[in-house]
Amino acid sequence: MTRLVGDLEVAEDAVQEACAAAVAQWPAAGFPASPRAWLVGVARHKALDHLRREAARQAKEVAASAELGPGRADTAAGVADEATDDDQLGLIFMCCHPALSLAAQTALTLRSICGLRTAEIAAAFLVPEPTMAQRLVRAKRKITQAGIAMRMPPAADVPARLAAVLRVIFLVFTEGHMATSGQALVRDELCDRALRLARELTRLLPGQPEVTGLLALILLTDARRSARVGAAGEPVQLADQDRGRWDRAMIDEGRTLVETALAAGAPGPYQLRAAIAACHGDAASADDTDWRQIVALYDELLRYEPTPVVAANRAAAVAMADGPAEGLRLLHDLAADEALASWPPLHVAIAELHRQRGDASAALSAYQAALELGVPEAQRTFIRHRMRGLKS
């Protein structure tokens, strides 16, 4: 409906009106042959009525006039075919408009594009349902009030706007991927939705290397899903995962996609992350991994995203390529940065390298530092397990 009438509020109101009309008419007039087509037809009619009224009052109602143009006056039977790719793209770019907060973009994408219910989105982001409902209402209101158009941005704006869309899809995926227990079902749902969205976007925007790169990254990462969580719901480190449980079909598809994307000669952060994930996917074990290639890819990634987090990941790869001492040197340099010193994963990485070198006391104090900074429950279980191993 949203794609047909170009306005979320109007579409939702129209569907409600159509349902109300159905309740009133069907018992007397009998059920229509295709209730869904009937509802869509009536809702569309009501939405167009509404938009006509709006258009009459407001000469410059662009969205409405576009939707009232020729070619739209047809029957409910043709409705499904009318949700064109342009409409779908327009909806995606509208929901991921950077004039909305990232939280609002994500919520709106899950609601309006993926069709998740408000309660499901609230559960996925661990906020109360009324909070999420309010966030969605505010986002839709801003779209209406600020005049955010439902269409593909002009060519000059596409790179920046596309980056916003990719960020939302990746955020949906990482929200799902990082979870280990608790809302496991809902979180799996987020991974699936992100994968489907990335596929859809790759179909809609073929030949955009970063879009293909994101799809490849999601496939290559999600391929490890069942190996990432242990029997007790604890996270299993990449090096310790049972690689036989990795989904080979997803890895193969992801590798092919990232090779295709990189061949276009326009690398970007998603392609590079996917290439790193592909290196892991190809390796039979952690020792068998081409760590030099991974370090080189992180060097390249740092050019696009010169963040401490990327630098820390690079240092972990250096430790594998050149030994823990060199990795530790880099990580300690990073820890000298005040902001990064309070980032628990850095201390976990330092602890892991001390542990590899057999320096139990240095490892224990780094694990302790991570615990004191506060880590999620599943991570805490993992750290305590490591600490017990070192003390015994």
Partner: protein, 118 residues
Amino acid sequence: MRYLFLLYGTSPLPEPGTPEHTAMYADYATAVQTMAEAGVLVSCAPLQPASASTTVRVRDGQTLLTDGPAAELKEQFGGYTLVECADLDEALRWAARMPAASDGMVEVRPVITAGAPT
């Protein structure tokens, strides 16, 4: 749709008569001229500094005057531009071309027009 650009400067505006002042006015003249030619400009004006403001309140029939702006801001509210655009994207593109966007910031505020969704 109409949008009001609220133009904020982060530093004190240059004194009239200085080369910086002349350059700033020339930059605004270019930006405004381009908007007028594109048919999006409705109106615009630079403002005297907030120290020239007087704030008016009427309470119980009494008019109370205060020397200064209604709200003290770190940023100088230095002018406005009213534009007519197809949608937010178009308005944002024009806002980015205002000199204030480069040395201060521009708030893009949708204007309520009769009959428009609220």
